[in-house]
Symmetry: C3
Subunit: 422 residues, 3 copies
């Protein structure tokens, strides 16, 4: 770094050789593995013309690319600009947050394409990738960005990369258990992305506890523009969250519905965040940290249920509750976690991702358990929960139970994985 | 606020209880009303599979979601990042502008979904919402963001919320009169959004006149980065305006045409803004405020006509004129309005929205009146102006007359409404 | 400018009349030429209903607008926000970079619509424009933004506009030779946009050599936030590059494939950039300039081949190499070019666009030469390289030869054109 006083990137002299070596070796490994395993999915392959005939598609517009590419780009912005800039609200880590987020995400998406590919897109010895795989890789890395928010300022770049490697691997395993073994729905990732990512990060930061960290944080002077940069992150996450929750839902009504539910939940969440931030602060002032973070909890909390028939009214209620829970968490829970449990949650991800993620999992389980053929229509019911093949006899209440089991599995994986890696 | 010296949010001790109460009660009211009234539109409902069969649609891609979602996201960015950051060019209000814009927009879209829903999407006791309703709610709130530009720094958060409540209500009434009663076309909202929003805000700021405001403004020191933050707002508004004007146009050629016309108008507007800014300033320097604002007037001014056969050449002419009008307005009219009419137009919305909005209404009326079956084709003519049912005998010149009437109605509603609320 | 100390816009008193005159006369010329030549393409014209029947299209969604508009908006953001903010890493030129980039791009797209229209969309005396023309105009102006990066700080606004005028003209000629006469594929513009634009700019800056420029640059103080603003530019270019390379590819699999290949190449490029930046700096620190620039080289270098069957694995290799080449270029080549060849490459475009562009051309030639019917499928092969009509007997190796010829032509045009204009 030319201007080392400005960022938190470690200035370890070791780094001179270790970081380059890790990056280069890793990338060579990626090239070899991609060479052996990764092919284009039929919709991205030049044989598409023949494929189209076989699938009786009449137009190029029915390529999955046109269903998902706009959402993919929005998700891409959330991962790289959203998460990166959100963390600039910590003055000291401004550039480091954006730069390291960039590095770990670029590093992680390649491994995620492979790991998720082996579990979900593996066909006769090849991983077939299309736009949905790119979205899923971004999602997986999103979970790493969340965990990064808890340990920001505590680790060297190398440690971050190793952490990314492990977390992506565990993410893929957990996702496989939930989506394939338990046949759970979680399109917006309340459980797989937020709950898992946040508790993984919190476990790691607990293990890396450094008693003197807090003091050095207090010394930082206030830099006004940090708040505006952080708002860029906040707003891009907030605005594009409907794309996040709808990106990999079924074509048609499910994507449409997921976007509407998320839009409603986020709007409600802003109001209760402002209300409680103002109520809990001295003299009724608003705390910028709440506005920058808690307003997003509504998006996290409808991650599982947004594609279901949650209804706009139900979404408002979820957003209403999460704005409150998240803001109260910033005021009371974060100091408690730090002083009593020695969990230094740098960005407050427990309030933004962990608790809303849990709520999202529970709301998803309830919404699934409450589903009826009357509300969904006969075909819509089967389509929404994919009650086909081995699952055609599953009832809504059983589905609700499996959804709840998904929460527990995600939590266990996060604690065990975080402890192992930490 | 932790750093009160940096923003304009009022630090009223009253606020401690009033702001939270207003936010919470309002949100509870929203939940109740959404519970009673709001359902998904058929395209977002799980019954879509059956609906598809009834409508003879062969593919999920024909869901309105895929026609409008990318434009919706662009409009969403314009409302939250565009309008929010544009106002940071006023150094004193940097964070307050972005934060309050966020609050009032999140507050307003919920009420807009209801108000516009009752007028436009009400079916057997239910408001049916889909992606088009989300766009319209964003549009409605855009009109509030415009008005906010005039009164920035003069009101408390509570007053802003009350203002939003009234303006959204009046917006929906005005929109209903124009689109339904007068059968006027205004897809990009030159009249309904810009003219109405701007004159509403100007009327309110006239009533809230505070003689000493100007002085305190002069005291502000210069903060260089404000200009770069403001350019983020400017550029996102400028780049995404083609989406704004095409977002709710008819599927197919109308959306396509609206984007092209807006692109052309905006490009021309930049050149005449630079020309007149340089010409009217001492020593030929460019004024940043002009670059940040007047370059956008070209988008406002083709709001009504962009989806019509305005032609790229006509669009260039409109952009050409509006860059000049808007820049001249900043140099001569804003000081005049302030000193003589006691209208303190903080962000100069009279130049960016009011005048270009009026021009847009007039251009729309002329373009409609000049329409011929030769230019549009027989079917295209009927489709473009929706001359069906009760309107199948309406002629272009009569349509032009009604378009002109729409301008007058919008102005009257803005003045009356602004006076009432102020 | 009100705050002249903050930007690099020239404060020539001459400018007072010359800049306005140039802008106004130019815009009037544009209006006249658009009036004579430019019409809507059938897909943007109100006659579309009839057109649809003739083309046997069953749905409005098959309008080219829906295939390309989301990519167009991403490209638009890259040109105006991406290139503009990227250049703010030079502290002294912060606002000037963004503002002038805005001016020259708005100026250039109008002329590009005409020049490219005459060459590619001219039909019975009219230029027919649709969304693809808007993308191409943005691409053409992108090449000017690249050249602008080399001469930033050396020219007055008027000179910039004249330069834009000439470069757009030459760009269109070069593009016509490559795409039409040589029948070369270059959807992402490695040759037409990057190689041509960069060598054009470098030739111009060589001719405008000013010995004392470097010193004044050294005097600039460090401004921390510049790095965060520059990262906004970097990230938007990086994130949206898949849209850039796929925006004008054939509908369906080609667009899909181009996005995937670009995504892979860019991810790999980040890792090798970090590795070499860390390795070549004293004490292993990372240089922000590398992170902000060299990470993008992977997108440039798959510009030609992304829509071909490059495979994800091939894309990783290209990104791997380009991260290294570009970073090494910043460390060793830029100082060498300046001291020995008197080429003052302000933003280092030789490393970001010139060399990766050349590599991209070569990779494209090799990928084309290596194409087989086995890999592409019989129909896919013909569709991918458009081996129809006069070209139906062209073989892959001949195509490879023509691709290579395209590189040479682009280089010659850039040198000759740059020398002429400089």
């Amino acid at each position: 770094m030319e201007r080392p006083r400005h960022q938190g990137m470690a200035k370890n002299t070791y780094m001179r050789w270790r970081l380059p070596l890790v990056c280069l070796l890793w990338e060579v490994a990626m090239i070899v593995l991609f060479g052996v395993f990764v092919h284009f999915s039929p919709e991205a392959d030049a044989h598409w013309e023949e494929e189209k005939r076989e699938m009786n598609l009449t137009s190029d517009i029915e390529n999955d690319f046109y269903f998902r590419y706009p959402s993919f780009q929005d998700v891409h912005v959330m991962i790289f600009v959203g998460f990166g800039f959100l963390m600039t609200f910590l003055k000291r880590y401004g550039f480091g947050a954006v730069g390291f987020n960039f590095l770990l995400a670029a590093f992680g998406i390649q491994w995620a394409l492979l790991m998720q590919g082996w579990f979900h897109s593996f066909k006769s010895g090849k991983i077939l990738i299309g736009v949905e795989n790119l979205i899923n890789a971004d999602f997986c890395v999103g979970s790493v960005c969340i965990a990064f928010g808890a340990i920001l300022g505590k680790t060297s770049p190398i440690q971050l990369l190793v952490l990314t490697l492990f977390q992506v691997t565990l993410f893929a395993v957990n996702e496989y258990i939930l989506l394939n073994l338990l046949h759970v729905k979680d399109a917006g990732g309340s459980m797989t992305i937020h709950t898992f990512g946040a508790y993984f990060g919190l476990t790691v930061t607990r293990i890396l506890y450094r008693p003197n960290l807090e003091q050095s944080k207090d010394k930082q002077g206030s830099v006004y523009h940090s708040d505006l940069f952080a708002m860029i992150g906040t707003l891009y996450l907030w605005m594009y969250w409907p794309s996040f929750n709808s990106a990999i839902s079924e074509h048609g009504d499910a994507q449409h519905r997921a976007a509407i539910n998320t839009y409603c939940s986020l709007a409600a969440c802003v109001l209760t965040t402002v209300a409680f931030s103002s109520m809990l602060q001295k003299k009724g002032k608003l705390d910028m940290v709440h506005i920058q973070n808690a307003t997003l909890a509504g998006g996290v909390a409808v991650g599982t249920s947004a594609e279901m028939m949650l209804t706009p009214y139900g979404s408002l209620i979820v957003g209403f509750i999460c704005g409150i829970v998240s803001t109260v968490g910033y005021v009371y829970l974060t100091p408690f976690l730090e002083s009593r449990l020695h969990i230094q949650d740098t960005c407050g991800i427990h309030n933004l991702h962990a608790m809303p993620g849990l709520i999202g999992g529970i709301v998803g389980a309830i919404t699934a358990a409450a589903a009826t053929e009357d509300v969904y229509g006969k075909e819509g019911f089967i389509k929404a929960f994919d009650f086909t093949g081995a699952y055609q006899t599953r009832t809504p209440s059983v589905q609700g139970g499996f959804q709840a089991a998904g929460i527990v599995v995600s939590l266990l994986m996060a604690f065990a994985g975080g402890a192992l890696v930490g």
